[in-house]
Symmetry: C2
Subunit: 299 residues, 2 copies
């Protein structure tokens, strides 16, 4: 089955201690869509400006991503610029130019409204909600977020959380949202807001799932060389959703393995600037790394 992905489509200028790359293809939806495309057909919903490079459109198409929901607007594409510290864990935003994103309202083409799997990648929670407003009840809805929305749109975010099956956020966001320093307590508080599944991202320490069937500690693939972690969290949820869309049976049965696939695709994402590594990736490489992760946690 296909996956509908809505989120940001952007140009990212990224600086790390080793290199600097201007105006790469970026945005939460771009990373998630390419990650999901290794598993299932993807429909992308987003907006780009007139400056959006044609090769990036071709890159989406190479991954067989349906662009019927990608709006082309007068003005400039959303541009984000950031710089990583030596440890590659901390980063600083240098610049945010919203461009056409400032007035973006996602409109779903008719063909998109019955999509069974919906990934609300990181954008303003009001826009995430607006997508759900246009849809018939999907089989599975997952939403990601970022600290910005906790700070400036908490009310919208809380309303959205109540409408999704799975909610994804990182560890510090989980603590901020719930005011609980313990991860089990934080997950419990988030369940109370609505979601059946709570997924907490922990960067190079993997991820954590709280679900009706219990907890799952998802390992991260240990990397020799982190080139650029931008978009790894988006690739993680994208691959989770892509994998789930290809599996039969209840979500609960497949979600753990989906997270491991997500973790592996995220690891590849970190091995190149922007999407450069993911766009060269082949499915057998993903399966090989999943098998390695299985060995890595076996005792």
């Amino acid at each position: 089955m296909s996956v509908l992905i809505v989120g940001s489509t952007a140009l990212d200028s990224i600086k790390t201690p080793k290199a600097e790359n201007p105006k790469l293809l970026g945005g939460s939806a771009s990373h998630a869509a390419v990650a999901a495309s290794f598993f299932a057909p993807v429909k992308l919903v987003g907006v780009v400006g007139e400056d959006f490079p044609k090769p990036y459109i071709q890159l989406y198409r190479k991954h067989k991503i349906n662009l019927d929901g990608l709006q082309l607007k007068e003005g400039k594409t959303f541009h984000w610029s950031g710089e990583y510290e030596v440890n590659m864990d901390n980063r600083q935003t240098l610049l945010t130019e919203l461009g056409v994103f400032e007035t973006f309202t996602p409109h779903l083409p008719e063909s998109h409204k019955k999509s069974p799997f919906v990934l609300l990648a990181n954008i303003a929670p009001s826009l995430q909600a607006h997508v759900l407003d246009q849809m018939q009840r999907p089989k599975f809805i997952i939403a990601d977020t970022m600290d910005l929305w906790l700070n400036i749109a908490l009310k919208d975010l809380l309303a959205l959380i109540g409408r999704v099956d799975a909610f994804v956020l990182n560890e510090s966001e989980a603590h901020q949202l719930t005011e609980r320093s313990n991860i089990l307590h934080a997950a419990r508080e988030i369940h109370k807001l609505g979601p059946k599944y709570v997924i907490i991202k922990k960067g190079h320490n993997g991820a954590f799932l709280s679900s009706p069937r219990g907890l799952f500690v998802c390992p991260a693939y240990p990397l020799e060389d982190v080139v650029d972690p931008t978009g790894a969290g988006d690739a993680f949820v994208g691959a989770i959703m892509g994998y789930l869309a290809t599996r039969s049976g209840p979500i609960e049965k497949n979600l753990r393995r989906a997270m491991v696939y997500g973790s592996v695709v995220a690891s590849f994402c970190c091995e190149g600037f922007g999407l450069t590594r993911l766009t060269k990736l082949k499915r057998p490489e993903i399966d090989k790394r999943v098998a390695e992760l299985e060995k890595l946690v076996r005792f």
Copy 2:
């Protein structure tokens, strides 16, 4: 087979955001010895002063810990005092009174010199080395350390690392020792110093093993309530060593499961002040939590 454990035997005064407990039984060797005692007979080597409370001696004995190598000296027992921040990850040392520890030299009774399993729990690396000088070649030597020795006794520590089979340290110490921010690179540098096995402790994110057979990501048991993490790292290595001493076959074959046992005993350690939870623990509780951890990482 029995386990020889050398390290500090101390009185710990511990303050957390929720409570304050003066002069608990503490020290790296105390935590490690009690943790190991759930699996194998333990011989403890350390020093205490005249103020060392009799109930603490009885507590060692309750765990069938051989005290032939515990010196009783004129003066005061080593006293450490620390305070934890709200997140329980960061702590501040308030006071260190070395007492009889200042002039401590570990002397091994004849009966101890042929011990097959030797755990050099955290003390000055020169003292750890002095224990090895007195021994016939043990089957397996594991050494733990702390940042203090990296700062004030690096030369001694490097010499010691070259003499052990397994070296244990926490993540920030691994980065400091090797000047490598990547954990795989750091482990590789430590292997170059001698040890066949490198174990990197990551607190509530578990632990990491680098060995000839490959890598292992060891999960931490998710805790509802961390009361006091003091000694958790010592309990971790103590349980590893105790478990290994009971297993036949090569170390490599048993080390992963040993680490999971270590992780579980460390989790119990965190559930009470000082050793209060561990000294009430029963073996079936440990096995139950190991079985839970197996489910927690299965996918």
